[in-house]
């Protein structure tokens, strides 16, 4: 092999002479390039830096929302009726999601769905946002994050919890998944409860940790706590007794309202059927309806005490005046009014006690229609109750000028006008509050001693009517089942044919009872309504009065009210026996 090597030192290239301008050109070019860079740097950093500043900020500055806590709903003793706890929601970005079958199976198990269903949700890879599950338990969300699947994220959300469950559902209401009130107090006070969320601007590092604040944060304003007038124990007992009665009488529905007789505060308001506000699935309108406020019915005999009180007030009768009710039938302009059981001559007190239609009509027909209309209006019929609640109805009361005599007669025993159970309960404050009708309140009243109402009848006549109501709930009255142990009660039963279309439904009734206790100085008013009892008995005295009795018994005990009637002590007897 022959090599042709050339000595480097003797390279002909080195011997040639380089012209000076070449090196100068290179130096000049490099200098120019540096100058260009300097100009550009000055431009970027000094002259037109806004764009880059903004771009930089986009990459590390973030605005964080500071959510406000939704206010709680409390009962009158400060016990929780509704509160919010965090419940993270899981979402995925199908476009860039990791699809490891094993991890997906675990994810499906934690979410509590079938793997196939999960696949279906994630099938569309064009989407960039899919909810996997909303409002999970925090522990489950942590486990899901621990799986560390790319493209699966959590969002902090809040879930509303209702420890009292279905008993208080209609009053408290509920929120939707976006934490916006949908029913009840949650809806009415949405604005106050929700508060106002704040925000802060921060710098985040590469790993997403907040490293610095920029500027002042706007602090969130938490929602205010709402304290209702509801007493959770009273509410629970009332609901329980109502539910038992509705089931026992195979009724369609029922409602109960308990008012503080001196302040007008609503201690309990319950309806059955109800629902569990935490787990709302397949809810029907029947369950959601707050019947005590939204359903009206003809109040029947419960109107008689109001008519009689006005008659006393106008000096038409006195409690011991005698009214002839024989032979139990009365014809007014062609229509016949009758009593279920014909009575002889009754005093006014006995008219209430026996619930005589004839007696009431005879007294009512001596009154001006205007006077009757006045008492009905003054106690709140035909007007919406002044309480904030969705769907509150006003009931129906026609102007007295359009009344025909027969209508005045039927209205005196509660037909031809309509009312909700709530209005009915509130109207009886005229008797409990010594002749003054007081406004009802769903909010706790901080200073109950200043409660005053509009005077309708004199205190003396209010007491007289209370005594008549006491007779009605006693032996020989229409509702002896309303009696309690130790407490004197008074009240009026009502049984009304249900209206359907233009006429009355054949075998459909509502039984109701409204009353107060104790008689001398009433503390509570309880109104009970049982809708379509169909287990044989349907009279208010049979179906509604027992609920009244049990509710009164429990409520007065819870309020620490001393019995006003003598009670045969039961323990003393045993104690004596044992000591021998």
């Amino acid at each position: 092999m022959r090599s042709r090597s050339v000595q480097l030192s003797s390279s002909p290239l080195l011997t040639s002479k380089t012209p000076v301008w070449r090196s100068q050109l290179i130096v000049a070019t490099i200098a120019l390039a540096f100058a260009a860079l300097a100009v550009r740097a000055a431009y970027v950093q000094v002259i037109d830096n806004a764009f880059f500043k903004r771009q930089g900020e986009v990459r590390f500055a973030r605005t964080l929302e500071l959510p406000a806590n939704r206010g709680r709903i409390l009962d009158r003793n400060g016990l929780l009726l509704a509160t919010s706890v965090p419940a993270p929601s899981i979402w995925a970005n199908p476009e860039d999601m990791e699809r490891d079958p094993e991890k997906l199976r675990q994810l499906a198990r934690l979410l509590g769905v079938l793997p196939a269903d999960l696949e279906k949700k994630l099938a569309n890879e064009d989407k960039t946002f899919v909810w996997l599950k909303r409002q999970l338990d925090e522990s489950v969300a942590k486990e899901i994050l621990a799986l560390d699947i790319k493209g699966v994220y959590t969002i902090k959300e809040y879930k509303r919890l209702y420890p009292e469950g279905e008993a208080a559902a209609h009053v408290v209401g509920f929120t939707n998944v976006e934490d916006v009130g949908q029913e009840g107090m949650e809806l009415v006070f949405q604005k106050q409860l929700a508060g106002r969320s704040g925000s802060r601007r921060v710098i985040k590092d590469r790993l997403g940790r907040v490293v610095e604040d920029i500027g002042e944060a706007v602090l969130p304003v938490d929602g205010v706590d709402l304290q209702l007038s509801i007493d959770n124990k009273v509410q629970f007992f009332a609901y329980q007794k109502l539910r038992d009665a509705v089931l026992e009488h195979k009724a369609k529905a029922g409602s109960v309202v308990v008012l503080d007789a001196q302040t007008g505060e609503v201690l309990a308001l319950a309806n059955y059927p109800s629902y569990s506000p935490d787990k709302r699935v397949n809810l029907s309108g029947e369950q959601l309806r707050n019947r005590a406020l939204t359903d009206t019915f003809e109040p029947g005999s419960t109107m008689k005490p109001l008519v009689i009180s006005q008659a006393l007030e106008k000096g038409i009768v006195r409690p011991e005046s005698r009214i002839e009710t024989a032979p139990g039938r009365l014809t007014i302009s062609g229509s016949t009014i009758s009593d279920a059981h014909p009575q002889g001559t009754l005093t006014v007190s006995e008219v209430i006690q026996k619930s005589s239609n004839i007696g009431t009509v005879k007294i009512a027909m001596q009154m001006q229609p205007k006077d009757m209309w006045e008492i009905f209006t003054q106690v709140g019929f035909g007007q919406k109750p002044q309480i904030p609640f969705p769907g509150v109805v006003s009931g129906k009361l026609r102007p007295y000028k359009t009344w025909r005599p027969i209508e005045q007669a039927t209205m005196s025993y509660g037909y031809g006008l309509s009312t909700s159970l709530f209005q009915l309960a509130r109207s009886y404050t005229v008797f409990s509050h010594d002749g003054e009708v007081i406004p009802a309140s769903l909010m706790k009243i901080e200073n109950p001693s200043v409660t005053s109402g509009a005077r309708v009848i004199s205190a003396e006549h209010a007491l007289a009517v209370r005594k008549m109501l006491n007779l009605a709930a006693g032996p020989g009255g229409t509702a002896p089942k309303a009696q309690t142990v130790g407490y004197s009660v008074g009240g009026k039963t009502g049984t009304a044919h249900k209206q359907e279309g233009k006429g009355y439904a054949g075998k459909k009734y509502r039984g109701f009872f409204v009353g107060l206790a104790p008689i001398e100085r009433p503390r509570i008013i309880v109104a009970v309504m049982i809708d379509e009892p169909s287990n044989g008995r349907y009279f208010g005295g049979d179906v509604a009065a027992p609920v009244f009795s049990e509710t009164v018994q429990q409520t007065l005990r819870l309020m620490g009210v001393q019995p006003d009637m003598s009670v045969k002590p039961q323990t003393a007897v045993q104690a004596v026996e044992e000591s021998f």
């Binding site: 509160t83 965090p86 124990k233 629970f236 007992f237 142990v485 019995p563 002590p569 039961q570």
Partner: protein, 95 residues
Amino acid sequence: MTRLNLVLLIAVVVSAMYLVHSQYETRRLFVEHEKTLKEAAQLEIALERLTVEQRAQATPLRVARLARDQLQMRNPAPGITQYVTRPGFVREASQ
């Protein structure tokens, strides 16, 4: 002159180092503060959750059932209650 320059140079370097250090401290403390705030929020949430749980465990229904079934208690009726009036205590009802 050179000496002064040297001193100034050292001063600048030291203050620069200190600036770096204090910036680092700021971030570290900030992160710690953040963490503590988060922990406080979490504890608050835990408290709320536990309160709810306590309420759920103490519903009148459950209390009544436990009292009746496990402790063989019954509702106090006026017949088995001795009412006493505290002297000098004005009851709400008698105002």
